[in-house]
Symmetry: C2
Subunit: 247 residues, 2 copies
C-alpha cells in the first residue's frame, strides 16, 4: 500500500468540524467521499487532529493508505475536481509507510483573527471575531509572554477535556496588526481542546482592560478553567501549519 500525505485547506463555516459524523457534512467525510470516488476503494483519512465546527484550516495535514497508482503529482488536481469549493487540496506527496499525520506531528501553528473595526468588515466576517474595542496591544503582548513555555494549561482548555496530562509547550505567541485586523499566532508542541480560543479570549479581555497581564501566572497555577477568560468564537480560528520532524 502507498501512503499519501495531503496538505488541505478549508473554510470551516459550513462544516460540522473535521471528524466524520453520520449524517453531517465534515471535512474528513468529504475527503473520504472524494477519495472513494477517485480510487474506487474505501479510504480512511487520518488527520493531524480534529478541528471544531466553524474552525478553518490553511495547512491541515492528513494521510491515507491506498493501492491506487495515481501519480503523486496528480492527486491534488484529481481530488479538487471532486471536492466542494470550500475544501481544497493544496499539495500531495508520497510518504513512508510509517508516516502518521497525528502521531508524527511535533507542533502546530494556529492563528486567531480579531476585527477591531467599529462595524464588522464584510470581507473578514467569516474569518475574524468582531471585537469593536480599542484593545491595548502592548498589554496583550505582555500577557502572552506568560503563556510561553512548558506549562500546565488546565485553566486554558475546555472543562470537558478528558483527564490527561495537560502540560503543553507554547514556543511563541505573536500579535500582528494590519488595519483593523489583529492576528494572534500561536505556535506550540500540541494543543488542548479550545486552548487557542481560550488564549485568544483571555488576551482580548486583557486588551479591554478587564484582566491585568500580571494575573496570567495565577490563572495558570489555579488549574481551573473558570479562572481564565472567555472562549473566543470558533470562526476566528485557523489552523495554519502542522509541524513534523525534518526528514
Amino acid at each position: 500500500m502507498r501512503n499519501i500525505k495531503l496538505t488541505v485547506s478549508y473554510e470551516g463555516t459550513d462544516f460540522h468540524g473535521f471528524q466524520v459524523q453520520p449524517g453531517l457534512r465534515t471535512v474528513q467525510g468529504e475527503l473520504e467521499l472524494a477519495l472513494q470516488k477517485l480510487t474506487g476503494e474505501p479510504v480512511q483519512v487520518i488527520g493531524s487532529g480534529r478541528t471544531d465546527a466553524g474552525v478553518h484550516a490553511w495547512g491541515q495535514i492528513v494521510n491515507f493508505h491506498t493501492a491506487s497508482r495515481i501519480p503523486t503529482e496528480k492527486w491534488a488536481i484529481a481530488l479538487n475536481v471532486n471536492l466542494p469549493q470550500d475544501l481544497v487540496v493544496r499539495a500531495a506527496e508520497e510518504v513512508p509507510e510509517s508516516f502518521h499525520a497525528r502521531f508524527d506531528a511535533v507542533g502546530k501553528i494556529y492563528r486567531y483573527q480579531i476585527d477591531r473595526g467599529m462595524f464588522p468588515d464584510v470581507f473578514a466576517r467569516r474569518y475574524a471575531w468582531h471585537v469593536p474595542y480599542l484593545l491595548d496591544i502592548e498589554k496583550m503582548r505582555k500577557a502572552a509572554e506568560y503563556l510561553v513555555g512548558e506549562l500546565d494549561f488546565t485553566s486554558f482548555c475546555n472543562a470537558g477535556t478528558p483527564l490527561e496530562d495537560k502540560v503543553r509547550e507554547i514556543q511563541q505567541v505573536t500579535l500582528v496588526e494590519r488595519g483593523n485586523l489583529l492576528s494572534i499566532t500561536v505556535q506550540g508542541s500540541g494543543f488542548l481542546w479550545n486552548m487557542v480560543r481560550i488564549i485568544a479570549g483571555t488576551l482580548t479581555d486583557v486588551g479591554k482592560g478587564r484582566i491585568d497581564p500580571e494575573r496570567i501566572p495565577e490563572m495558570l497555577q489555579a488549574l481551573d478553567r473558570t479562572k481564565a477568560g472567555v472562549t473566543a468564537p470558533a470562526h476566528g480560528l485557523t489552523l495554519i501549519e502542522v509541524l513534523y520532524p525534518r526528514t
Copy 2:
C-alpha cells in the same frame, strides 16, 4: 428634509447588483427596506453608481433625503441592526441638501484581485479571480501605463454600453503582490460598464504572454471592444472608494 450620506460596504456574492430590481435581492433594495423600517418613510437611495451582480464594495457612497430626526451618529448603528450580514454601513454624515452621490462624484478607486496560486485559496475565492499562471508582472505594469491618461475607452467597455462619450481619465493603475494575491488598483475620473473588468482581463492576458504590452495603444485606437482582452469575472472586483471634491 435632511440629506444623509452613507459609506457602505457589501459582499456582492449574494446580491443581484446594486440597483433595485423587482423580486431580486439588491443592495439598494436592502438599504431602502432597512431605511423604511427605521424611519417609517418610503426612502429612495441614490448610489454613486451601480455595481454589477457579484461585484463587492468597501466604500460605496449613497445618500438619501429624510425628515427623520435620528442623530447623525446613530444612523450607522441603527441601520446595521436592520441590515443583513453581507451589507454594512461603515459611516454616516449629514451633508448639504444639494449633495448627490452620483452627480458630485469626481472619481473612483476600484481594486481587482487575482489569485495566482496553483489551487484556489479557499479564503479568497469569493473576492479574487483564480488564475493559476505565472504572470509577468513587469509586462502587466508596462501595459497598464498605456491606460493612464484621458483616453477613449470604447475598446475597454461592454459592447452593449449606450452611445455616449467614452472618454475617461485614468489617473493611476497600481499592481501590488502579496503572496499569491495580485491586486490591480485603478483610479479614474469615472468608469464605463465593465471597464475595470476588461482592463483586468486584458492585463492578465498580457501577464500570460498572450498580448504584448506595446499593443495596448492600438487596442485603444481601434475603438472596438473585440480588440481588447477578456472581461475578468465580477467576483474579483471591489469598489474601494468614491472621490468627491474637498469641501
